[in-house]
């Protein structure tokens, strides 16, 4: 009668699980999860997403890496997320360690703990999860039996603020590198020559894309800037070159999908069409660090989309790419997909559309843009400033796009902007609401606008500029907090039409993000103190507390303005100079100089600007081949 469900070894008693909010976050047991016999595998890997289950389970990269590791018979990769505050409190009160979802085993027992670092504001959750796992925060304090702690993901392009907490970083795309790292570990164990130190050294010396921060000594100048990075051994790279997957058609594609039972942020099929972006917006880190642009062929994407549909049953599908309309064969691909998605009631969505490629044909094809809101990101209000940031977008394009949308019956437009770009003046800022006002007028002037008589609504959403590593604007100063707030108020005053809704991003969070984005290893002290004082979920406004951040900076001798509000010298050694992401510093400097002249750079397909990323190779890339 009663089926005794196999009891996980978890210490989380059922009574406890019944007393927390959304217990489904901690239950595991999803369809598609990978279970293995732990006594039969040689390495156990805990893949950690330092945010809630609902956020983490929506991440495509995690799904790929989970599958890429589990496809190896002797490696078992499991998942772990940051427990919500109520659960953390109970775990601390009862001294229960953080456990993996699949086996329910404590994370501290694993061979590896890998964090994906998707945004800087998750750093406090990383430390928090280490603490909950009873793993020493600092790599130097870990013993032979502690897991090897690995970091990867976009923030690993400047890993320095969290470098002391990690044994090893993956720089670049992980689906090949991560299994290689674990294989090396297994090999050294099999050969009986494993020690933590030897393993880290050998990984740094032999696996491309591996950065072991403890093997580099950092010195500083008297003014606080970085003086030099010195490798401790001759056989490890002086700079660590980013790893890429050369042929995306052949890249590992997961044939199992873990299906969350509870609602996640993105409950849909996500198919990757390519990596990288041809555009080169000067503030955008993703646009630089994912170069060179590589595409998958439509037939491969279609085949993967069908497989995902069969395995998930999701009735919504989204194509993932930094700028989907730049995909060279977008028409061919959408036709291919629509040939079966309609019959199976699957709706297709294309996020990240550019206004200059928004056409009636595309809109009619793709259902997600059938709802009443259309979103574009002009990023700056004036043409001059859009040229400074190399957005390569003209107001005519935007107006044409919104008119197409109005004629199709839409009445809501959402526009994303940034404030605080280099050279910005109040006139540029005033153009943000002015542009929104012109969109409202365009609605009323369009005789063919959709019937229904609902008034138009234009939402402008403005977030402060954050200087990011490996962008032409990496040297720029962020506005002071006062200036950010003044600009926010100013934009608000310029909004005179009630049909324009104005949102702005929290300035205080953006300032901390700027500090962390350009931070060096000295910030680790502040993060560690923050962890001890209970910082968590700093990406969530209800948990973020600016005063507390200021307080830990002050007590650890960190001047946030040194990192956020200083214009960095072009000849300065940057904390992230230890990483080579493909794009050269010379190119970034050229782009910066052009920005100050408001001169634009053609996109990669119009012409190569010699950014340097082509040295990494790549199939179906638009770069010239290097010899």
């Amino acid at each position: 009668m009663r089926t005794e469900t196999e009891n996980k070894s978890t210490a989380l008693g059922s009574t406890l699980l019944k007393s927390v909010s959304k217990p489904g976050r901690y239950a595991g047991g999803e369809y598609g999860q990978t279970l293995k016999d732990k006594t039969a595998v040689k390495a156990r890997f805990a893949f950690a997403f330092p945010d809630s289950y609902e956020i983490g389970m929506s991440n495509l990269g995690m799904r790929i890496l989970y599958g890429a590791l589990n496809r190896e018979d002797d490696i078992w990769c499991e998942r772990v997320f940051t427990p919500w505050e109520d659960m953390q409190d109970k775990m601390r009160a009862h001294d229960l360690p953080l456990c993996a979802l699949e086996s329910g085993d404590p994370i501290g027992e694993f061979d590896f703990l890998g964090f994906t670092l998707q945004y800087e504001m998750c750093y406090t959750n990383v430390l928090n999860m280490l603490a909950l796992s009873h793993i020493p925060l600092r790599a130097e304090a870990r013993g032979e039996n502690d897991p090897i702690v690995i970091g990867g993901g976009p923030c690993a392009y400047n890993p320095e603020p969290v470098a002391p907490f990690f044994d090893l970083f993956n720089i670049g795309e992980g689906e090949e590198m991560l299994p290689e790292i674990v294989r090396l570990y297994i090999k050294m164990k099999d050969e009986g020559r494993y020690t933590r130190a030897d393993f880290l050294h050998e990984a740094a010396a032999t696996i491309s894309g591996v950065y072991v921060p403890s093997l580099y000594e950092v010195t500083y100048n008297e003014d606080g800037t970085v003086k030099a990075y010195t490798p401790l051994y001759d056989d490890i790279p002086k700079t660590v070159q980013k790893r890429i997957v050369k042929d995306l058609d052949k890249a590992y594609f997961p044939d199992e999908v873990v299906m969350p039972y509870i609602e996640t942020v993105q409950d849909r099929i996500t198919v990757e069409v390519g990596r990288g972006c041809i555009r080169g917006c000067r503030f955008c880190q993703a646009g630089m660090v994912y170069r060179p642009v590589r595409e998958k062929t439509p037939a491969v994407i279609d085949c993967q989309a069908r497989a995902l549909f069969d395995r998930t049953g999701y009735e919504e599908m989204s194509l993932s790419s930094l700028s989907i309309s730049d995909y060279t064969r977008v028409d061919e691909l959408t036709d291919m997909l629509l040939s079966w998605t309609n019959d199976h009631m699957v709706s297709l969505s294309l996020p990240s559309l550019r206004a200059d490629s928004f056409t009636r044909e595309l809109m009619e094809k793709v259902s997600s843009i059938r709802n009443s809101t259309i979103t574009f990101a002009p990023e700056a209000g004036s043409q001059r400033l859009r040229d400074v940031i190399n957005k390569n977008l003209y107001e005519e394009d935007l107006m044409r796009a919104v008119n197409v949308a109005f004629e199709a019956g839409k009445n809501q437009v959402k526009l994303y902007f940034m404030q605080g770009h280099p050279t910005e003046t109040d006139e540029d800022l005033a153009e943000i609401p002015a542009l929104a006002h012109r969109v409202v007028s365009a609605y009323y002037q369009n005789p063919n606008r959709g019937k229904g008589g609902r008034p138009p609504q234009v939402t402008i959403s403005v977030s402060p500029f954050i200087p990011k590593p490996f962008t032409p604007f990496q040297w720029e100063a962020q506005d002071s907090l006062e200036e950010m707030r003044r600009k926010q108020a100013y934009v608000g005053e310029c909004v005179t039409d009630r049909k324009v809704k104005y949102n702005h991003h929290d300035a205080e969070t953006c300032r901390i993000e700027a500090v962390l984005a350009r931070g060096d290893r000295r910030l680790a002290d502040a993060l560690e103190l923050g962890c001890r004082e209970g910082f968590k979920f700093d990406a969530w406004s209800e948990y973020f507390n600016y005063e507390k951040w200021m307080s830990v900076f002050e007590r650890t001798g960190i001047d946030p303005a040194f990192y956020a509000n200083r214009a960095w010298g072009l000849d300065e050694v940057l904390p992230w100079d230890i990483i080579d992401c493909g794009v050269t510093k010379a190119f970034l400097k050229r782009e910066r100089a052009k920005a100050y002249e408001a001169a634009t750079t053609p996109n990669c397909r119009e012409g190569c600007s010699g950014c340097g990323a082509n040295k990494l190779g790549g199939e179906r890339a638009c770069c010239p081949k290097t010899k």
Binding site: S14, P23, G28, G29
Partner: protein, 239 residues
């Protein structure tokens, strides 16, 4: 492979309602009714069940769920009705569904729905087990007496607010014993509309009166398993 060729099955002249009896145990007890509904709609797609879709602007598959089951309770007798528009056998539907489900959420039976409706279900039998310190036969007797002696007034939440209810009037039978140091309560409780008695009330009553299993206790454990559902007479099993 796509949707496992449901299109090749002959079209029915009238949509057919298939009743599915399923299990929801283990980790799945933490999944809410709403999340279960979402899950099932995806399960039907990946199993390639030829669902009948409502006509109109926003077509959707027709699925009717039986009794809700509280988060934290397990069940061996959940029901849902689905409507198909192609001639696929109930046995195949069961097999297809189970090929895309786990043991903790799986189909026990599938058959052409009889005339009964879910509102006919009035009573449910539960097997409640409590593992805690100091459970004895004498204590079990005391607990049984306590839970079955009218009036046992408790604050009961409902849509219209909180009201005081004598929970013994919503209990058809209840027996408590100790087996291997584990307290077992076999109870038949009302599941009908506003009189739905969540078995957690029994746990709460015992917690308040006998001080066992303090909330967020990590040593003791309890489980609630729904085993059978009955019509109004309390004897005829629903099917």
């Amino acid at each position: 492979m796509l949707s496992k060729d449901k299109m090749s099955y002959p079209k029915l002249t009238e949509p057919r309602t298939v009743r599915v009896k399923f299990r929801k145990v283990g980790n799945l007890q933490y999944i809410s009714h709403l999340d279960l509904q979402r899950t099932i709609s995806r399960v039907l797609v990946r199993a390639g069940i030829p669902m009948w879709y409502t006509q109109g602007f926003n077509p959707h598959a027709k699925i009717v769920f039986g009794l809700p089951l509280s988060v934290g309770a397990e069940s061996e007798c959940e029901y849902l009705d689905l409507r198909i528009d192609r001639d696929m056998s109930c046995e195949e539907i069961k097999q297809r569904l189970n090929s895309v489900l786990t043991d903790e959420l799986c189909v026990l039976d599938a058959y052409v729905a009889p005339k009964t409706v879910f509102a006919d279900i009035v009573w449910a039998e539960y097997d409640i087990r409590i593992r805690a310190e100091g459970l004895t036969e004498a204590l079990a007797d005391e607990m049984q007496t306590y839970l079955t002696t009218s009036p046992l007034m408790m604050d009961k939440k409902s849509k219209s607010g909180i009201r005081q209810v004598d929970i013994t009037t919503l209990t058809r039978s209840l027996r408590a014993t100790v087996v291997d140091g584990e307290l077992r309560i076999a109870a038949v409780l009302c599941v009908s509309g506003a009189d739905y008695l969540n078995p957690e009330y029994l746990i709460r009553a015992l917690r308040e009166r006998f001080g066992i299993m303090p909330e967020d206790d990590v040593v003791s454990e309890y489980s609630i398993l729904r085993t059978r559902v009955y019509l109004a007479d309390g004897e005829t099993e629903f099917n």
